[in-house]
Symmetry: D2
Subunit: 278 residues, 4 copies
């Protein structure tokens, strides 16, 4: 007996839940957990079905394909294989540290294949956890060449997900296009407020009473990708920009770790510039 | 075309989702929204299916009955009929006021059939909204007789739900048994903390840093019924018990109104001493 | 014995707390509550001192004036007089309703002098609470003339505060300049996100996972005034823009009512484009 | 120029703020930050004054002593010396890990002198951070002897604070009396709900919709000490007790780390069974 998850993303049609669950039943696969969502505005159907049983992937997926409308996306993902991530960082340790600790104690069921940085700062911390650390300086290197070096290292590890855990460099569309829907970033504001550089300093200038963090997929447009998770903390007039930076760490790391776990559990469907989370 | 919701609460069995959605499909009922939950510990299955189409209730329900295991509960509830509530209050107006305002502007899609109180205090407010107000004093009346009077009035209105919106009297099991699973109460603490009288004063004595509110079904055991919704507010050492009372009003009314809307939308399944909310 | 609050807003200087509290002590005024804040970046000092005793306002304020640096602002505000507000609304009732209910039960210690609207919709509700309602249509009237009519009515009531409780018209600088630091507005987003029209529809388009509300002073720049209070609610992909509108009501009304009570208790200092709340 | 904090905890009296700040002024100490609180119910006065200047501790404190009523507590604490903690753990790593990471990156300005455990589990993690780890098994040792061993080790380090970071042993009054007001614990429920063992399992049985964590000083009464900080997370019916354990980790560690920082910054006054946090 194995556990796999069927992911369906297709145009809505009559009887879809019935048809798909019928196929599961016919294949003697037990539904452990099922969630579906229909976007009635655009007529798109999403379903995430956790299954248990003896799988014959090919015949099962053929049946699924026969049933779904044209233009459907579907996949059957194993729940028994640990997923692999590569983490990109700069100098700040709180997000990386939280992922390291959660991988360490099993709160995040993930293999951290490597940590890559444009600074040496976090090398010692990473290596304490016996994880390869790659220092790739961006100094005196054309942006394009720097990214090519990064891509080379990343591709060697073939990760399921690339996590920007306070990686303070803007990635070019050319880099992003190498890892479609596979890069997530933590931005230290409640987007779309305070896009771009130094959001806490922008927040300080504006005099807001909340600060926040946003985990999102990275697309060609800076800070404009599909949002996975957001949260906030209340602040008051006594907070300097530096106090916000400090106070914001806990919410940044919690939001990022949560987003990672949602993606790794195959709960996040990207749909246009939005996410559906089942 | 009508909208109805099929509610299923039964022992889990293989293929249930498939079988139930098949019946919907066969009856040409479109599934607008579906949520299910299996309690794997006890093997109980819950499903809430919003349907649209031309219903032949009898034949549809016969098919459902044939399909479900023995001992199943199921029902088909219309979404087009406004539900009716009766509200019991004492002297405090914030919960009643919130329900009145939400019924007024349609935030709560409900008919308030009547308000009943053991004090006259809230009569004027109620009547401003053209809702019948019944004053039933508990003074110099045996508890049993008082409750019989209440029951008489309530039954005349035949409400779908009885809402205790800061009704500061303890109801006897004999009263409660007249309205099984049909009474909800707002308790002004995050239960199970501070059961019983004057929870804010208990909270003050204990020196907690949060206060809260709990909406729950009323059962024979005081403050022990199935919880529907809970929320909290942060406080600090500057709060007297009276400050907590004042600060608590917003969270009490929000939690109670939310619980009412969940129940009226048929989202709440009572299961043992817990609720499943779909 | 009376209660008054001394408000001080001045350039920071050595010994200010000591000097001001000395004067209170000398005048045999008991400090019930004191809060101060120094913005070390700009060197501005703020203090709010609740006093109890027999006040000789003139001699006390002369002593205060002698002590403070030049360019200081200070005032002595009575706590025993109920403040007066005028509320501007359009068609939505939830914010108005919350203020009406809170004034009714004393949660907000305020006199609602009048409600003014560019639609007739909320007249009946207002009058149920025996509050004057003024309908001033904006149709077929030049903006300037409409505002002059509003100003005329408002000035008759001489309110301490003007509350825009979902008033869906943009006010001109000429209107705003009539009531400096006396107009507060509720904007239905967590500013600075989604400035301008239809913020929930903008939020829907962007696919955010939180919605929020911001209470702020109104200045010449739309949605750019000093922020008093903000809060958010979590949402998910199932929310349409209309669902957000509905879900947002509770957070809008709670934030606005909270901001009103902060302002009426003289806790809010406006400083540049920010607020200091003591 | 140095920074020190004056802590005052005494019976309220007329002119206290004035008198104390006068002394600061006379000694040419600049007040960077001042917070005070009077518990009007019991007439107790608390003040925390951050000072900057050239300190003559003895004469300054003599002046303070002369000014305060009898029975006052006061102290002058340096802000330039890093405080020392000893951490007690059992097997779970999330709270320890968060403190280690926050000490590592400076989010917590603290020296972790040692980690002590009744299991070997967390030794490797601790030593990665170059912090001494002491394994003191409780097996086959009378409770009293085990505690004596712990006390011996702890006293060697002479910590400012003893942190129980998921230490799953109940400490005897005899142990607690060795470190009065110096032990803080994280309890994995929103106290006073779910006192004692296995709070998440109790929470599961009760069917609550929130889980939480409480950081408190340890006194002779289990889970009854003064509360420093509390927070909660929302859950739903899908959470098993094990899911709560997992979900609760982030709130536990955040609450504990926050409480540690409040105590180390000398912001927490213990007063009866409550805390005043300035």
């Amino acid at each position: 007996m194995k556990r796999k998850t069927l992911l369906t993303d297709c145009p809505d049609a009559k009887g879809l839940i019935s048809k798909i669950t019928n196929i599961c039943y016919k294949h003697q696969l037990n539904i452990i957990n099922n969630k579906e969502y229909v976007d009635h505005e655009t007529g798109q159907f999403f379903m995430r079905t956790e299954l248990e049983g003896f799988f014959k992937d090919e015949t099962f997926l053929l049946d699924i394909e026969d049933t779904l409308p044209k233009g459907s996306e579907y996949s059957l993902v194993s729940q028994d294989e640990r997923k692999k991530i590569v983490i990109l960082v700069t100098k700040e340790s709180h997000c990386l540290g939280d992922i390291l600790m959660k991988a360490y104690d099993g709160s995040l069921d993930v293999e951290i294949a490597a940590v890559i940085s444009n600074h040496e700062t976090l090398g010692a911390l990473t290596e304490r956890f016996n994880i390869p650390f790659h220092f790739v300086s961006h100094e005196n290197v054309p942006r394009e060449d720097h990214e090519i070096k990064l891509i080379d290292i990343i591709k060697k590890y073939n990760p399921d997900l690339l996590v920007l855990a306070k990686f303070m460099r803007i990635l070019t569309p050319s880099f992003v296009s190498q890892f479609p829907r596979k890069i997530i970033n933590i931005h230290h504001s409640f987007l779309p407020a305070f896009i771009g550089a130094r959001p806490y300093h922008q927040a300080y200038e504006r005099g807001v009473k909340i600060i926040g963090a946003t985990a999102h997929f990275v697309t060609h447009d800076l800070d404009e990708g599909p949002i996975i998770d957001q949260n906030i903390r209340h602040i008051d007039h006594t907070y300097s920009a530096e106090d916000m930076v400090k106070k914001g760490r806990d919410v940044e790391k919690t939001v990022l770790s949560h987003a990672i776990s949602l993606v790794l559990e195959d709960r996040v469907f990207v749909y246009g510039n939005k996410t559906v989370i089942l």
